[in-house]
């Protein structure tokens, strides 16, 4: 069934940008060397079971630990292990989220083939629930999604029985994410079978699909497919005809940050009981997957393909060609960027999101399944003459003071320039208009700059999901979201002290 178009109050549409990826996928050659971090998705680090000098086949499990919350890690190319204890460091040294992960380095022997799942678990019976769960776990697919797909093998923080809702997120609100048309034509059958498998695994869970409300053909294509009476669909593996008709398709406006867990759950399922900033969909029983994850489920179960590759989007004006790219996990980012970047401008390379992503400082870092896009935007330090008077047909803005809001055909530029100077807040309310969680960002920022963080609790500061839109739209260029983060941190520290540290969870949230 197709539901009514839904959305949330606030948000901002990043549309028509220069350097948006097109709906085509290129294949990256098998790299000569891969660095595979022994940590997949949101799980914990796993100890490797291979030794230096050992020969491995692509698809072979190189690290597994059923006792800790994790999924198995696979060799993604065939070759020789040359180092199984190399530490790689994510995050920049300046930011607090720096962490290092042990990883296995494999040198390729040139073979492109990979082991199928049948070689890894020969006695798997994919007609039983246990067998399918095994396939998902041992293929590494269970590490996908924001917090892993629950299996009996401790791959997610909840049990498979606790999954109440499955949300398949087909919206593309994040700037420079892969367009969802990509998954419309050739991969319709895999999507339907993937959905069937998910229903087979979680028979009690309600399944919702979120799509862009503007992409009508995808929406109706999906609807026709789910209600189709074609033999191919009817007799597809794991088909449950009755179930497919109960799947709800939700057209959502592609406003940033619709992809955020809490907003997705709230728009589709209704109010959530905790402050949005503390919300974790999986603890609420909601499993959120994107369409690529559903296809991976299909490939693991039906095609016996272990998770050795991923599709990333190459977005931003810094790339010569903007498209999707299928790469083996562990390929270094420099290999991906090689010959693909434009050399005539200085670029900033960002992972996953222009709004909240990390800057890549070390290009030797490997691609993992949690990297959805690599974005290259110009590091623009140019001083333009009378920049505030320019008509601006290619400048996107929340305000309508640029001609781009009249002439919508022109592609909008995105770069790293501040486009102005730091000034005092003039209460223009732009941040209030765009805030997706209905707080007053400018007021919280004022409290924060006056060391009154404890007073912001009554302003609902814990609702903040740190989408960064308030900083984005601010004409005074105030780093509002940094101020809000600082307030939240101070509040959590104060709460911890009050409770005498007996609640460990609270501490982790900060």
């Amino acid at each position: 069934m197709i539901e009514k178009v839904k959305s949330f109050k606030g948000g901002f549409v990043f549309a028509n940008l220069q350097g948006e990826p097109t709906a085509s996928i290129d294949n990256q050659n098998v790299p000569e060397e891969v660095v595979i971090p022994l940590k997949q998705g949101g799980g914990s680090e796993v100890k490797s079971i291979v030794k230096s000098g050992e020969t491995v086949k692509a698809g072979q499990i190189i690290a597994i630990d059923e006792t800790s919350l994790s999924s198995p890690v696979h060799a993604t190319i065939s070759g020789t292990v040359i180092d199984c204890e190399r530490n790689i460091t994510y995050g920049s040294k300046s930011s607090e989220n720096e962490n290092s992960v042990a990883s296995v380095v494999i040198r390729a022997d040139g073979q492109e083939s990979f082991l199928s799942l049948n070689d890894i678990i020969p006695d798997a019976d994919i007609s039983s629930i246990e067998g399918v769960f095994d396939a998902i776990y041992f293929s590494g697919v269970s590490s996908l999604g924001t917090s892993g797909i629950p299996t009996p093998h401790n791959s997610s923080s909840i049990n498979p029985d606790d999954v109440k809702n499955i949300i398949i997120n087909g919206t593309t609100s994040e700037p420079f994410s892969l367009p969802s048309d990509l998954f419309s034509e050739s991969s319709r059958l895999p999507i339907v079978i993937g959905i069937n498998i998910l229903h087979f695994l979680f028979p009690d869970a309600v399944l919702d699909i979120a799509v862009d409300s503007k992409k009508k053909e995808i929406m109706y294509g999906l609807f026709n497919l789910l209600t189709s009476s074609e033999d191919e669909i009817k007799n597809a593996p794991y088909a449950d005809k009755k179930f497919l008709k109960t799947v709800l398709i939700h057209p959502l406006k592609s406003k940033y940050p619709q992809g955020d867990e809490s907003l997705l759950v709230e728009t589709i399922l209704g109010d959530i009981p905790v402050p949005k900033g503390e919300f974790s969909a999986i603890d609420y029983g909601a499993l959120i997957l994107d369409i690529q994850d559903v296809i991976a489920v299909y490939e693991a179960v039906i095609k016996s393909k272990p998770l050795i590759g991923t599709v990333i989007s190459l977005g931003g004006p810094g790339f010569k060609v903007n498209q999707g790219l299928r790469v083996r996990i562990g390929t270094s980012i420099s290999d991906v960027l090689k010959d693909r970047l434009r050399s005539d401008m200085k670029l900033r390379i960002i992972l996953n999101s222009v709004m909240g992503g990390e800057v890549v400082e070390n290009l030797d870092l490997p691609v993992t399944s949690s990297i959805k896009s690599i974005i290259a935007i110009p590091e623009n330090r140019d001083q333009e003459f009378l920049t505030f008077l320019r008509p601006g047909v290619n400048r996107g803005s929340f305000s309508n003071t640029f001609l781009s809001s009249v002439f919508r055909g022109f592609k909008r530029r995105i770069d790293t320039n501040l486009h102005g100077e730091l000034r005092a807040c003039i209460a223009c309310n732009y941040c209030e208009y765009v805030c997706p969680v209905k707080i007053l960002p400018f007021l919280i920022s004022k409290y924060a700059t006056h060391d009154m963080a404890e007073d912001t609790l009554r302003l609902n500061v814990l609702e903040c999901i740190e989408c960064g839109l308030c900083s984005y739209v601010c004409p005074s260029k105030i780093p509002i979201v940094d101020h809000i983060r600082q307030c939240k941190q101070e509040l959590y520290t104060a709460m911890d002290e009050e409770e005498g540290g007996d609640e460990e969870d609270e501490g982790q949230l900060t």
């Binding site: 920049t387 320039n417 003039i426 302003l459």
Partner: protein
């Protein structure tokens, strides 16, 4: 041309850095540099990209919106209007610059709007020295003493106007000019000779005589420099709201509450309260509602609070106009409501987040 300017600025920049005495002029230099070329700053941390709008563009949009009104002031009252505007800019920006140098801070852009609004709410006969005095008082005591743009409690242009209205009441209330008519209007003359003693609003409260609605709407009436042509003000207002620079809640709530309140009061006491349409089209109501009440800094800062602020402004304006000796109620209503804006915000926040604590 641009390259030469760039060169001059870079050179001045380096000489300024060298001498400790010249360093005092740095705010002025920085202002010129960033005015012409912007800053080369890039984002650090997230988000990595920022919206293209900045405070300069925000305020310059208001100045652009005021442009039709200033041209109309020349059309109706001669080129002297331009002299008034120029005086306001010269002295206003000078006051702003002095404060920037003393405080060693950057020059803020709010003065561009203040210096444009201030002359447009003065009578055409105003002596130029009075303009200078008013704008300097407005900028210094309306804004700078509070810490500059963004920290002021009162609308600086209003503070300046109230200062000279209270200090020189006869100049501000009795010396008006009849507008020039015809195709070229005041573009051919420096000033107007025909002195009249009253604006339509003053006339109404004096003798009960009402000016024609058509004249009031197009602006061929006596009044302050920029506030006579309601048509142009409405066009500018729509422009401001469409660009999202001007808040739409304040003017709509303000004008709406004036119409409703004066309609009700007019029913009960027609002799005392003027009818709604006359209220709307006379005096500085439209100009005040669109350009002055919407000043985001001194108005209520929450979006809901802005609506309440507008409604209260409307009621207060009608009451001041009808019940006090000051026929122009907009000026005092806005200053008065500026004081109550934080209270409105506090109540809005209390009601909105009641559930939490």
């Amino acid at each position: 041309m641009i390259a030469i300017l760039r060169k001059i600025l870079t050179k001045t920049g380096t000489t300024i850095e060298k001498s400790p005495f010249k360093k005092l002029l740095k705010p002025g230099f920085d202002a010129a540099d960033s005015l012409f070329f912007g800053r080369p700053d890039v984002t650090s941390g997230f988000p990595h990209s920022r919206d293209y709008i900045d405070i300069k563009r925000f305020f310059i949009t208001v100045v652009i919106a005021l442009f039709p009104c200033s041209v109309a002031s020349i059309y109706f009252f001669g080129w002297r209007a331009l002299a008034v505007i120029a005086t306001s800019y010269v002295f206003g920006l000078a006051a702003e610059m002095v404060f920037a140098i003393v405080r060693k801070e950057e020059v803020t852009e709010g003065a561009f709007v203040t210096c444009m609004i201030f002359p447009l709410i003065l009578p055409p006969t105003i002596p130029l020295w009075m303009v200078a005095l008013g704008i300097v008082f407005g900028i210094v005591f309306g804004k700078e003493v509070f810490g500059g743009t963004g920290k002021n409690i009162f609308n600086p242009a209003m503070v300046g106007r109230i200062f000279i209205a209270v200090t020189f009441p006869s100049t501000m209330t009795t010396q008006w000019l009849d507008p020039i008519e015809g195709a070229i209007g005041g573009f051919a003359s420096y000033t107007v000779d025909a002195v009249t003693s009253a604006t339509p609003l003053i006339k109404y409260y004096g003798t009960g005589e009402m000016a024609g609605y058509k004249e009031l709407f197009f602006g061929n009436v006596s009044g302050s420099l920029g506030e006579t042509s309601k048509l142009l003000i409405i066009i500018s207002g729509i422009f401001l709201m469409a660009t999202r620079v001007g808040n739409w809640r304040i003017p709509t709530a303000y004008l709406g509450s004036v119409v409703i309140f004066s309609f009700i009061m007019n029913l009960f006491s027609p002799g005392m309260f003027a009818p709604p349409l006359f209220q709307l089209l006379t005096g500085g109501l439209l100009f005040g509602a669109i350009f002055m009440a919407t000043d985001p800094v001194s108005a209520a800062i929450t979006d809901t609070g802005k609506g309440v602020y507008g409604i209260l402004l409307g009621i207060l304006t009608v009451l001041i106009r009808e019940l006090t000796g000051y026929v122009e109620g907009v000026m005092f209503a806005i200053i008065f409501m500026n004081i109550f804006a934080p209270l409105i915000d506090e109540i809005v926040i209390l009601l909105r987040y009641k559930k939490i604590k």
